[in-house]
Structures are given as C-alpha cells and as structure tokens.
Amino acid sequence: MNYRPSYAGTGPAATSLRILEVVARLGTGTTAKEITEALQIPQATAYRALNALVADEYLARTSNLRGFALGHAITGLITAAAPPAVSTAARNVMERFRSGNRFAVHLIMYRSASLRIADEDPDYPLHAAFEMLRYPHASAAGKLMLAELGDASGSVPMRPLAKLTEHTITDRGQLEAVLAEVRATKQASDVNELEEGSASLAFPITMPDGSLGGALCLFGPSARFPTICEQQEAARELALRMAPLLF
C-alpha cells in the first residue's frame, strides 16, 4: 500500500489515465479541484481531459455535477485487466487435490470472454498458456467458455479458426457440434488439439447465479487420456467445493 501518485506520463492519454486513477482512488464524488491538486496539472488541462472523459463515458458526473465517478465505458478495461483473486482457502483446497493426483490441475477463470489462469499447478506449469488464452476453440477450458457464450461465432472473433495442431477443430460446424455436447455433458475435453501430445479435461465452476465463472482443468499426456478421465468424479466434486470459495 502506497499513496505516492503513480508514474506520471506526458501525453494527453497519460493525463486521462492519471485522472481515472485519482477518481478510482478517491471514489465517487471526486471533484475537479481534488484532481488538479492530486496531479498538479493546470485547471484548463484538467477540465478539457475531464470533459473528454465524460463525453466518452469513461467518467460520469454525480448529481450535483461537481463530482466524478468512474463511468461504464471503463468496465471493459478493469474487468479484463483485474487479476483473478484466489483466496488462501481456495488455494489450500486445490493443493490438497493436487497432492493426491498424478496430473496437472489448473484453475482457470473467465473474464469478458477470455480466459485467465487463476491458479497454475506449480509442479506442471502450462506450456501452451498463450495459445489457451488466444484460441479458445482449441482447449477444453476454452470450449467451456464458448459453450457458455452460446453463439460463439458472434461473440468471439476467431475467423478463421486457427489450426494449432493436426487435431485442432477448424470447422465451424464441427465446433458447434462439440459445443452442444459440452453443454449437455457439462465438461469439455481436448486431445492433441492445443498441443501435440497433451490432453486436458475441464469442469465448470459456476457462480452463485448459475453462470460459468471458472473451470478446473486436468492436464496430462494424451496417451493417458483414459486415465485422466477416471478422475472425472473427483474433479467434479472439487469444482463444486471450489465454487463458494471463488465466487
């Protein structure tokens, strides 16, 4: 915890970002005066930046028009950037499960139609983390998300479906069929699709409102896929136990 004003920028974008930061710190009702004082910038600069931010709805004025609050347009950035929080209690549950399991167990969370690695198995780090985040159609966790999103074609820009390995699904029709199955069985799998030689199973962790919040992923060599599948019941039970600790 440290109050010192964060790193100062020079451009107009930096001014705007610093203003947003001050409003985020001081909360709803922060005034133009408080902003100019905190940032040591000229009034005219502050007013111009504030009005531009209000116009684009990154800020909103409070009812008395004096104060500012973070506007809805910033939601996308904060939601996407905020790191997923996993409490000690949740980590402990994960650790206990891992200690009795031969395979890698990762905890994934979903944020605005993208994946975040919330708790990575310390013994088996994810190789294909970048591909997982970028190409949801190729991983078990990604398929869970696409299934939840419904009309995948409309909500995720993945034209054309990237071919990561020989087994990656690149046909939209086929993908839709797989997603329908994911919806029915409430689990998703990937065998050699994300990375040659690797397989995974993903189980949804639901939020209190019933929507998809995260996933528990088992990773292992693709040759051992049947053995991974034997863990199914235990993993499902874990996902149920994790839900209240996460959401």
């Binding site: 709803t28 004025r61 609050a69």
Partner: protein
C-alpha cells in the same frame, strides 16, 4: 460501490420515462438543423423581411448583415457549449439558467423559450399551408379560395407532426432529417439551375456594396439572427441522445456555421435574382417560388415542396423542443403535473405534445380563415418568436460563469463570454424593440407582457410554493447503469 454513491447518484432519474441514450448523432444534428430550417429560412426570411432592403437603395448589404448575425449566434453557441458538455439537459436553456442564475430566473428563460418555440411552430405550420397551396397552384390546380385548402393542409400537417412526435423521438428526428435534407438539396439544385440559365443577367455589384446606415444594420442583424434561432434545440435531447456530451455540443457548434454559410450563399443569390424582379414578386408571401414560376411552374412546384418540407420539419423540431421543456416543468411541478407524463411504450412526453399541438395549429388556421395576409402573419410570428429566443439566449449566456462556478470549474474565459454575449444580445433586442415600438408594432409589448408574467409567476412560487421552485433544474442525471459496473467479474 453501489451503496456508496447514494448522495451522488440518485436511484431514480427525475426524467424517467424518456427513451434514454438511443439517439445517434445525425438525428440530434437534424433536430438543430430542422429547427433552424435553413432551406425554409433562406427562401422566405431574407426576401420576406427585407423587401425594402433587397432593392439595395437604403438597406445595408445582406452579406454583412448575415455575417454579423452569424457571429452573434456563434458567440451564443460558445456560451452554451460548456454547459452542454457538462449537463445532459432535457429542458435546454431553461435548466442551464436554473443551474446558473437560479430557479426564478429560469422560469423567465423557460417561458421565453416556450414562447419562441411555439410561435416558430405556428409560423412553420402557416408556411407549410401557404407553400403547399402554392404547390397545388403551380401544379395547375385552380383554387377558387385558397383559404379552405390552406387551413386543411395546416390541420393535416399538425396531425401528422403530432403522430410522428408521439410515436418516438427517433422516428420524428429521422423524418425531420429526411425532410430537411430533401429541402436543402432541392433548393440548392434549383438555385444552381436558375443561375446557370440566367447567368447572363447576373450582376454581382450590388451584393458587395455598402449603401445603408448603421441604424438599418442593427435592425437587419436582429432579423437575420431570427434566421438562426432554433440551433440550440438539441439541448432538449440530453436525455435521449446516445452520447449527449459529444453529440449535443457538436450539433450546437456546427449548426450555426452550416446555416450561416447557406444563408450567405442564398442571400447573395437572391439579392442578385430579386434585384431585377418586379415589385409584385418581391412583396408576395412566396417570392422565390413566384420568381422561379415565371420561368418554369414545374420547377417552382418542386421548390415549393422542398420549402414546405423544411417548414414541416421545423414545426416538428420546435414542438419536440417545446414539449420537453414543458415535460420537465410538469415533473418539477411548476407546470401542470400532467404534462410530466410520458407515453408508456413510445417513451415520449406525449401529454405535453398532445396539449400544445392544438393551440399551435389553431393560430395559423385562424390567421388563414380570418383572411390575414400570410406574408404579414409570417413576419409577425417569426419576429415575435425571435424575441422569445433572444430572451432565453440572454439569460442562458449570462448563466455560463455562474453555472461553472457552482460546479467548481470556474474559468476566466467563461466570465468574459458570459458578460459580453448577453450584452450584445441585449443591445440587439433593444434596438429591435425600439424600432418596433416606433413603428407602432405590438410585438415587443406582447413579449414584454409574457416576460413580466413569468416574473410574477416566479414570485408567486417563491412565496407560495417554495418547494416547487426548489425542485426546478431537473435533468438526465447519471444513473447506476452509467457507472463502472461494480458487480462480480465476470
């Protein structure tokens, strides 16, 4: 943070019921342009109000007059702009004045604005009737008495406008955009064609000549200013515009410039064209049309259609603005509570629209049926309307520095703008009133009476209903949904 902002973000908006944040920039811009009605104004106002001036013998030149008027209006737009950037007003200048100079002054500003919008709406309907009948005549219809058909057209136009406005702001705004575009396009094409065919006889000398005195210049400016009024009307769409703090400031900044350029071109053109026309054409109520019909009745009919469409759009835009001010007053309790109702499915201030439209239609119909010259009636209605607008401009411009100081964003520039602009406007209004009174015209007295009444009403509220006075100044406040969504992610 949901509970944290209690004092800052109200749970229920005071202007609940309007279709919120759906109107994109073009319809907002159309509201401004239609209310100014450049196509209508550039074909009617200069020719109508400058009959003595266009001869070029004793009048100041048109270019200078319109240029000065444009400058004055741009000053006003500079004053309104900072307020439009900060407050999503639903009642335009009325709510700016409330925030800046207080609720009692706001009553006067609001009544002035309503007065202005109402009279321009009446004049617009009258112009729709007049030009439509002219259109029929140019199409070859023989009318024994044009009064009946004119009245019927006005009635039909009023009903149609009412329907469009109640059905939704998007529908009415897009139709005004369509009509205004058509009319500007037609007028432009007709003027180009006319000048192309008559190029030989064009004489530009008179356009740039200065032959008047300063007295006639002041009056000319007042009249020319009235061709710009209405540009501020998007300030009543703060609740409905998609990005009110972008589209409204932009619309009120660019409309006077666009209209000004059109006027300067049209003034030049007409000055040249009417210079050689016979006095009967110049003194007619549809001079441009008459002038062109002597060349080709068909072209004149198209022109009539364009001008009528422009005025129809203007009527809609005026009543749209007016009804939103009334709606706010109803919500605040300083007008009939009923006008504060919105239509449950169309989400428009339907009660306000339905209540004012009959009165607005009645006046032009009465004018026609009583056999008053449409030209004379138009002049009087437009000029009287301009008084209302100017009154509201003065109060709203003067509000700027107080508005900014109240919200803690005081600037020196705002004090300069907020003092010079009202002074210039007051001088213009005063000059017009003086000339008008000297000419035995009742216009300034009528507006004066309205203004006085507003002061009396505000005083009455002050002592008898202070609570209502305190509630003045509602606008489309920030809602929870406008804020950063503080719900669990994702």
């Amino acid at each position: 943070m949901s509970a944290r902002g209690d004092r800052y973000i109200t749970a229920k908006s005071p202007v609940e019921g309007l279709r919120r944040r759906k109107l994109s920039f073009l319809p907002v811009f159309a509201q401004a342009v239609a209310n100014v009605a450049p196509a209508g104004a550039m074909s009617v106002i200069p020719a109508l109000i400058f009959p003595g001036l266009v001869f070029g013998t004793s009048g100041p030149n048109l270019l200078m007059t319109f240029g000065a008027a444009m400058a004055v209006i741009i000053l006003v737009s500079f004053c309104l702009r900072p307020m439009a950037q900060r407050m999503a007003a639903v009642s335009g200048l009325y709510s700016y004045t409330a925030k800046g100079l207080g609720p009692r002054t706001a009553i006067s500003a609001g009544w002035s604005a309503i007065f202005g919008y109402a009279l321009v709406a009446m004049a617009s309907l009258l112009a729709v009737g007049t030009y439509s009948v002219e259109l029929f005549i140019n199409l070859g219809l023989h009318l024994v008495d044009p009064r009946g058909p004119t009245a019927l057209v006005i009635l039909g136009a009023a009903a149609g406008a009412c329907l469009l406005m109640v059905r939704g702001i998007r529908l009415s705004a897009w139709s005004t955009l369509l009509m205004e575009s058509i009319s500007i396009a037609i007028l432009t094409v007709v003027l180009i064609v006319y000048f192309t065919f008559n190029a030989s006889s064009v004489n530009l000398d008179g356009v740039f000549a200065w032959q008047g005195d300063f007295d006639s210049l002041w009056i000319g400016i007042v009249v020319a200013v009235s061709a710009f009024v209405g540009f501020e009307s998007p300030t009543t769409l703060g609740g409905e515009a998609r990005k009110p703090f972008v589209s409204i400031p932009r619309a009120i900044t660019w409309t006077p410039i666009l209209a000004g350029v059109l006027y300067l071109i049209a003034a030049t053109a007409q000055d040249v064209a009417l210079d050689e026309a016979s006095p009967s054409i110049i003194t007619s109520s549809t001079p441009l049309s008459n002038l062109i019909s002597s060349t080709s009745p068909m072209v004149a009919a198209v022109l009539d259609f364009g001008i009528a469409a422009s005025w129809f759009a203007c009527a809609i835009a005026s009543v749209n603005a007016l009804s939103r001010i009334l709606f706010c007053m109803g919500r605040e309790g300083v007008a009939l509570r009923a006008v504060g109702r919105t239509h449950p499915s169309f989400r428009t201030p339907s009660t306000a629209i339905m209540m004012v439209m009959p009165a607005i239609a009645a006046v032009p119909i009465a004018v026609i049926l009583f056999g008053v010259s449409p030209g004379l009636a138009l002049t009087n209605l437009f000029t009287l309307g301009a008084y209302g607008y100017l009154g509201s401009y003065i109060l709203a411009s003067a509000s700027l520095p107080f508005f900014l100081r109240r919200i803690g964003e005081n600037t020196t520039v705002s004090w300069i703008l907020g003092s010079t602009t009202p002074l210039i406007l007051t001088f213009v209004l005063w000059a017009a009133a003086t000339v008008s009174v000297q000419a035995g015209n009742l216009q300034s007295l009528i507006y004066g009476a309205v203004f006085l009444a507003s002061i009396l009403y505000a005083t009455f509220l002050r002592y008898r209903r202070p609570g209502r006075l305190a509630s003045i100044g509602i606008y489309d406040e920030t809602r929870q949904s406008d804020l950063f969504h503080d719900r669990r992610i994702p």
